[in-house]
């Protein structure tokens, strides 16, 4: 421990003395707002760590056009009011060039007006469709919209010849946005939602809702939520001996879900970013190399597994770094560079931003996986 600390100190001193810094141009300050504690910490925590790691890495490689990056990160705790005070701090006190985050849809929507007013690029890591539709000039996002996730799930259901489905969604912004998409897109795939139920994020039991769904006799169930609720749903589905396919959302696409649901996870099908199944991807997949590198770096630094959520921040930092190049710290230039970004291959998918699309992802950003033998299996 002591040794490690000394090494860090020595390294820091060396870094300060290195000629690059002595001749340094002013640092580029970039802000981060993540819900690193609180209910959505499973999103914010890996995002924050990833951002810190990426900034370190970019600086070690000489920064951007000789400018070092400095990350100023605040915790929103998933609370819109805290996100607002954080965004004001970043804009007016820290005077950052751009902001990455927040992690959740409500916190993002809460700060959108402030970044628009201050004319500052924001790259959100939240899933909600409302963030980029309608398009706001200064707001981008790297997380796949639930629009795409629902489309991926429905495609799979349709291919199986299923017509009637029941849905069960968590009563928070993630579940609600998912529910709206599930209901809105069902007719496009020739599906009928026979029963729509919801459960509380902290519910201990969901058998009542599932019983109601069961009585409507659907051919498949789609559950939309983030850990731990969907694991409870998975367990309850097994307990009620519901012998129909259970689909989950990308919100539970992490090894934690398999651990939580245990045996009940078997046979569950869900959409996920490719990050979860890096090892299973074919060699010619353009994202494979990027994902592997990210994974190795992250594991070396934090000794934990990567998640798709950290991937959103990974892409956001990379996109921003690309946009910062040659911008000279001009926010308008950064924004324009972001908007015209094309064929940027990231951890989440290939980004093609345009004036009409500030998310820039295609449905191919998702792959469908099935849980078999306690691990993921790529479908198709």
């Amino acid at each position: 421990m002591l040794l490690r600390k000394t090494t860090i100190v020595v390294l820091a001193i060396l870094l300060c003395l290195s000629p690059a810094v002595l001749l340094a141009k002013p640092v580029y300050k970039i802000g981060g707002i993540f819900s690193s504690t609180g209910r959505a910490s499973f999103l914010g925590d890996p995002e924050k760590k990833t951002m810190e790691m990426m900034v370190e890495k970019i600086n070690a490689a000489g920064g951007i056009d000789g400018h070092m990056l400095q990350a100023v990160i605040y915790d929103s705790e998933g609370d819109p009011a805290k996100a607002v005070s954080a965004v004001n701090k970043l804009i007016h006190k820290d005077k950052v060039l751009a902001i990455i985050g927040p992690s959740t849809t409500p916190t993002t929507l809460a700060i959108v007006n402030f970044v628009e007013r201050a004319q500052l690029p924001l790259i959100s890591c939240a899933a909600g469709v409302k963030i980029t539709s309608p398009v706001k000039p200064w707001v981008f996002k790297t997380a796949q919209s639930d629009l795409l996730a629902v489309a991926a799930v429905y495609q799979h259901i349709q291919a199986r010849g299923i017509k009637k489905i029941g849905i069960i969604t968590v009563a928070n912004s993630f579940g609600e946005s998912g529910k709206n998409q599930l209901l809105a897109q069902a007719p496009d795939f020739g599906l009928e939602v026979v029963q729509a139920e919801s459960f509380g994020a902290k519910d201990t039991d969901t058998t009542a809702q599932l019983t109601k769904i069961k009585s409507a006799a659907p051919e498949a169930i789609v559950c939309w939520g983030t850990n731990p609720g969907p694991a409870v749903v998975a367990k309850n589905v097994k307990q009620l001996k519901l012998d129909i396919p259970l689909y989950q959302s990308h919100g539970v696409a992490s090894p934690k879900f398999i651990e939580l649901a245990g045996d009940a996870a078997e046979g569950i099908i869900l959409p996920t970013g490719k990050i979860l199944v890096t090892g299973l991807l074919p060699e010619d997949d353009v994202q494979k190399k990027i994902l592997e590198d990210y994974q190795v770096d992250y594991q070396a630094k934090y000794k934990g597994n990567v998640s798709g959520f950290g991937g959103y921040a990974f892409d956001a930092v990379n996109l921003l770094a690309k946009a910062l190049k040659g911008s000279n710290g001009d926010k308008n230039k950064i924004r324009r560079a972001l908007e015209s970004m094309a064929h940027h291959v990231g951890a989440t998918g290939e980004f093609n931003f345009s004036a009409q699309d500030h998310n820039g992802l295609a449905p191919s950003a998702f792959v469908m996986v099935e849980i078999k033998g306690g691990t993921w299996k790529l479908i198709k």
Partner: protein
């Protein structure tokens, strides 16, 4: 029909959880006239302790169980000694805020100790769900209901039949008079706290297998526990027990027959109705009174 039975089974399971929590709260109230807003956090401590002791350290279940309960009791003891006893003016509002502070504090500590991720605990007995009239009943549900009955019965026996328990009730009725008759009222307060938080930990241990445990699981459970205790009548053990079961069943029926989105509202609407119509609770003769 089959659905109704299933709703009842689910309701009784969740209801039993609420009942255990409510019994702990009610017991503390009947012996110290205090409402512990940190009670949900002790439930969380119990659940997290069983995760560490049983799942991670692989201790035998009875030992892990005892360890988790002991942890709950000890934390309750410390809490009483350090925070409640030291309060300069033990007015209810002050004590309520102290317990709210303690709940935030305990949540913070748990977040540091166990991290932010949820954990899962295997069921105590590995059986398939039992089928009765087409409805599935979990073995763990039977465990929970059994625990609730045992706990309520045990505390009832303790308060009504043992000398220590009677002394504890005496302290609640009139502290000074109890002290005059030679009851060590301070010790009784501590004991009441330890038993109450210990029972909270028991609730946590039993629900850990049917749900997911995380550092922030306690708040909502604690609130529902209050509702149950209020519905049954504060200070009445069997009232709290019945209130818990009633609340669970109504929630489950409400989720099934009305709307699952409004499920949480049912508990609170019921609470308001009870408060407006018979504020003493359904099963208590006592009148609602001032602090």
């Amino acid at each position: 029909m089959q659905e109704i039975i299933q709703y009842l089974f689910s309701g009784i399971t969740t209801g039993a959880i609420y009942a255990v929590i409510a019994v702990g709260l009610s017991m503390l109230y009947s012996s110290t006239e205090l409402i512990n807003f940190a009670h949900g956090e002790f439930v969380m401590l119990g659940a997290m302790a069983i995760v560490t002791l049983w799942v991670h350290m692989a201790l035998p279940l009875p030992l892990a169980f005892a360890g988790a309960v002991a942890l709950g009791c000890c934390m309750g003891l410390l809490f009483e000694r350090l925070a409640i006893r030291t309060a300069r003016t033990p007015q209810p509002i002050v004590l309520v805020i102290i317990t709210v502070g303690a709940s935030i504090f305990l949540r913070g500590v748990a977040m540091i100790v166990w991290g932010k991720d949820p954990f899962s605990v295997p069921a105590f007995s590995r059986h398939d769900s039992i089928e009765i009239a087409g409805a599935a009943l979990l073995p763990q549900s039977i465990w929970i209901v059994g625990a609730a009955v045992l706990l309520a019965g045990g505390i009832h026996f303790f308060l009504k039949k043992t000398l220590t328990g009677k002394a504890m009730v005496a302290c609640a009725v009139n502290k000074k008079a109890a002290w005059l008759t030679g009851i060590p009222s301070e010790k009784m307060g501590i004991l009441a706290f330890a038993v109450s938080t210990g029972s909270g930990a028991v609730a946590g241990i039993f629900i850990a297998p049917i749900t997911m445990s995380s550092y922030d699981m306690g708040t909502m459970l604690g609130l529902k526990g209050f509702c149950a205790a209020m519905i049954g009548g504060l200070g009445s053990l069997w009232g709290a027990f019945a209130g818990g079961i009633l609340l669970g069943v109504l929630e489950s029926l409400g989720a099934g027959l009305i709307s699952s989105g409004l499920k949480d509202a049912i508990a609170f609407i019921l609470l308001l109705l009870i408060l407006y119509i018979c504020p003493g609770g359904l099963f208590s003769a006592k009148e609602a009174k001032r602090f």
